[in-house]
Point group: D2
Chain length 333, copies 4
């Protein structure tokens, strides 16, 4: 299952040191003039993010568009794109070929497939999230036209510069806010808006926690504290005649402990959620582990590695949030 | 989307005060003699759980099996079942017909569908989770034969008895452990085992947070603290000849910060996760809200309501964990 | 996989002589006042159809609605319904318990599941198509409001009355026409409108052939004979300003060899297709076969059986055509 | 929906004169050493087929493998591949930019998407089936190891050489036989093996009919003629102890009117089906049509076009049959 989404669907492919990384977007609305500059700027956010805390691999990330476009306008057919893996030095990783790096996917991939691409983490590399940024940028462009906006930021992070000196890594938390999302998105039982977001966010490497609104803090509250009182911003003012008879506008919640989602469905207030990222498991410090023969051994992971996934993660969290929001909008039409 | 699962799939139906609540299980292995006593005991766990903290609605919860069985043995065809809603007093809810209860799904359902079943919360009622317990019990029975076991418990909860006196409610956290889960379950990109669990857990009412392993605490750790060192319990001992050549057995992790999942795939260690539940929004205390006409009003929710969803939630968390685990096993064969 | 559809989805359950036959419709638009009389009349078409050519089993087919409705109006939540199997005489079938009836599903079900419900054909009975009539009737009601209409009829059938005297059965062909279907339905590659129809029709028991437009006859034509010339019924008249700029209306095809589908997508002309049904395999004439022990034996199938599936099939073909058309409409919004 | 399959899934992309045509295969078993020579030979079958009846476009069809492989061995991760569109002369098609070619997808694509790629038919071009040949070749390789084999051939075709001289085109019928397919494949209700095959075959351009076994001819037969008598090739011989107790081997049908499928499930006999292709709509003869402005006009389609799709179609029918068979095998494990 390398596909996400119901109507707006992204299928991704590629290993860190294979020929190329890419994706196929199916279900993108037609007649959209793609904003390539914006897509590039989103990719740049991912790159720039790396400056201080991330690895020095030179990723030019030049997208080649393979299909689905006529003069830059979407045709409604699948939009395929790819980025070649150019600056590959697989020999850097040969030492790791037969060793299971702690808290990496080396062991689990091998358990699942009986084989793994040891070159740079293969499919489990953070590099494989690049297509998400591309699809997310397109989703954002469409959402913008519909009046919705996604903004994320790092709200918690360990001391990266100290960690780099120590040959260590740090984790952190990203908070994301979806503004202008219409009410009524999400399905009542197994496709709740919160469930779709959770599923998407857990697709990112290193994610270990997800919460909506006040999240885990709600577990410590009383109902009288946690409830979001409804108010009518326009009380006494006019109502709007929607297709379903007279419709009252202006109803929202005074507080937003719920994070914009009630009963799994958006209530029109900002959707707010947080995502917890563990520290990157590739550390320079020596660690004990076992090799494929089951023998205990020591490793110190050299090469180019991020100290913290957080700066890169912001644009990824936004991208997936945009994809989920657009997908739910297209589903609910 | 009232369906969950890929191979072992549950479709649920029913509103709190409609004719019946039920489900259809598609993809259950054939030739399984259902353990009806166990299914009943799981339903009883849900009921007993209610004793002190939950509502007094008399739910006999007698399952009627509609299809998919011959003399109690599964045929491989869809297993449909239902429980009639007998003790219904919809008039209790008439006062709430035109009022949006704070942090309930009244408003969002109406925004989505233009109509809502105001009788007892309708589809958004916790009662609609009953079919999950049934499907979960069947999944557990199959898992048990395969050597896997699911155990959950409440690890954090507010003071329920005090809350009841105050006309208030409390939230809490459930922790769940899946033991005996084979390594190699879960998909590498968008169907990670953790993502499937997250999606399932967020299908439960009142869930606002989910974390795997050390979860949000990992965000504060360094890589050297968070990494799970691999060890070989059987080092120097024999290896086993699997289908794929000589296979080393006995490899596991010394710690389990990862909660049994690395790169989205199970590593054979216990899968451990936590689910945060907000307090039930139905409180007896008077609250301010607005009605369908957009007018500010006061409500005090009477009727039979749980003080805390936690005791009921344990068996639900287990049930969904069992369903996800079985589904992934059937997918990975 | 007992589910059909993408947005408007039907999951069916039930065996011929189990407790009940039924279905769950997910994705039905909300706020629709169901026309129960029409649904009953569609079920009656199925019954009346039986008079001369069909079995005498007394099927009262009284639907019990289990969920998804409030005062007969759809809530947007799953609509579950069932019909109890009352007039069951499983003992009629005991003689067939260990024998594989020729061209029946006895053998294949046992190969697939290792077990089969021998009572009246179990899941493979034509009775299990009843839920399709219900879902189809609801789809037709919605389509009617959208200006589309489905009409099918038997265009070829063997001599049923002679066959009954001979203890034999006959097959035939149903032709179906979907009028008022908008252009632009269907997906370009793997979800062509024709492919969706073919998939749906092959879900009916005894279906062995399907063709669209001139179908197999097109294989014998030349391009110059088979092509449908475009014409403009309103040439020189006004154009309509659609959302996408000036839109020319009135374009259609002078002939309809294509059956309303070109490149897998509807062109606005009538969608026309035909479905071939084999004769019912349950014949009174003695036949040679083998039993579960692999021994050659003779059977003569007694009991109540149709002589021809065709009269029943008409409403089923219409029902599935309606479901597919509605589903594609909901997908294309 | 540009994806086909449940476990073994192909997503295709590309337009005739875009940058590239390609696909992503998800769910391919790992540790398979791809037989690239065989894949090339299958692509060559498609090319050679063209010699007398097909267009002269120089298609080198050199596949570039983008992901999912390590030294030619499958990793279990998505296998992406593409073929660049090199010999493109879009100017050939400019004359057709604003004209709807009769029985082509020009009009329907424009109705669906409000835009179309007029260069060589865009996504509706037969060239877009190339990825199916690639995925089919891989499926065949796996099936071969499992003892199954797919063989198709043209059993009916118009006079191609005469048609070429007349500036016309012809249609025909392909018959396909799947040998060595295990019994028990296919789902009982909406995922019948026949339904999956029908759906797949109708994904091919120009397909207008599909029948299994004796197909439409069965509609004219009596039950006593159409039924396939069961026999035991090994009667009196040994039985085999399967997992489910003693299993009788050797049971098959004396005739194969059913085409190897009964009740939608394979019975172990050869699966036999036929696919009807209409003549290619691109004919050199002048035709009347309308343009985008709704004005009647004449066209004579120049350029490189096949006279008959049949020779190319054989390998495509085989490829999709292989993909469906493998997918059902992987589902039924």
């Amino acid at each position: 299952m390398n596909t996400i989404g119901h109507i707006f669907r992204l299928t991704t492919f590629g290993e860190s040191h294979g020929t190329a990384i890419g994706g196929v977007i199916d279900g993108c609305p037609s007649q959209l003039e793609l904003d390539f500059d914006f897509i590039d700027s989103e990719l740049l956010r991912r790159k720039t993010a790396q400056s201080s805390t991330a690895s020095q691999r030179k990723e030019t990330d030049r997208i080649e568009w393979l299909s689905g476009l006529l003069d830059g306008v979407t045709l409604g057919t699948p939009i395929a794109f790819m980025v070649r893996n150019e600056d590959c030095k697989p020999e850097d990783y040969k030492a790791l070929k037969d060793v299971y790096r702690p808290s990496h996917a080396d062991f689990t991939y091998e358990q699942k497939y009986g084989i793994r691409d040891w070159r740079g983490g293969g499919r489990a590399s953070a590099r494989t999230t690049l297509p998400i940024v591309v699809a997310g940028a397109i989703a954002k462009q469409i959402l913008k036209e519909k009046g919705a906006q996604i903004i994320a930021g790092v709200i918690e992070m360990g001391d990266a510069e100290q960690a780099r000196r120590d040959g260590d890594t740090v984790g952190g938390v990203v908070e994301c806010c979806i503004k202008g999302v219409p009410s009524g998105l999400g399905e009542p039982m197994f496709g709740k808006f919160s469930a779709e977001l959770a599923h998407a966010m857990f697709s990112l490497p290193a994610v270990k926690g997800f919460e909506v609104g006040d999240g885990f803090a709600l577990a410590k509250m009383k109902g009288s504290e946690a409830n979001d009182t409804f108010i009518n911003r326009d009380e006494g003012r006019e109502t709007r005649d929607g297709g379903r008879g007279t419709e009252v506008i202006g109803i929202t919640t005074a507080t937003n402990h719920s994070g914009g989602i009630q009963g799994g469905i958006t209530n029109g207030n900002d959707v707010v959620f947080r995502v917890a990222f563990k520290p990157i498991p590739s550390i320079a410090k020596p660690q004990q582990t076992v090799n494929r023969a089951g023998e205990t051994c020591q490793i110190a992971i050299e090469g180019r590695h991020d100290v913290c996934v957080l700066p890169r993660a912001v644009v990824l969290v936004e991208a997936l949030a945009a994809m989920v929001t657009l997908d739910e909008m297209l589903l609910s039409v």
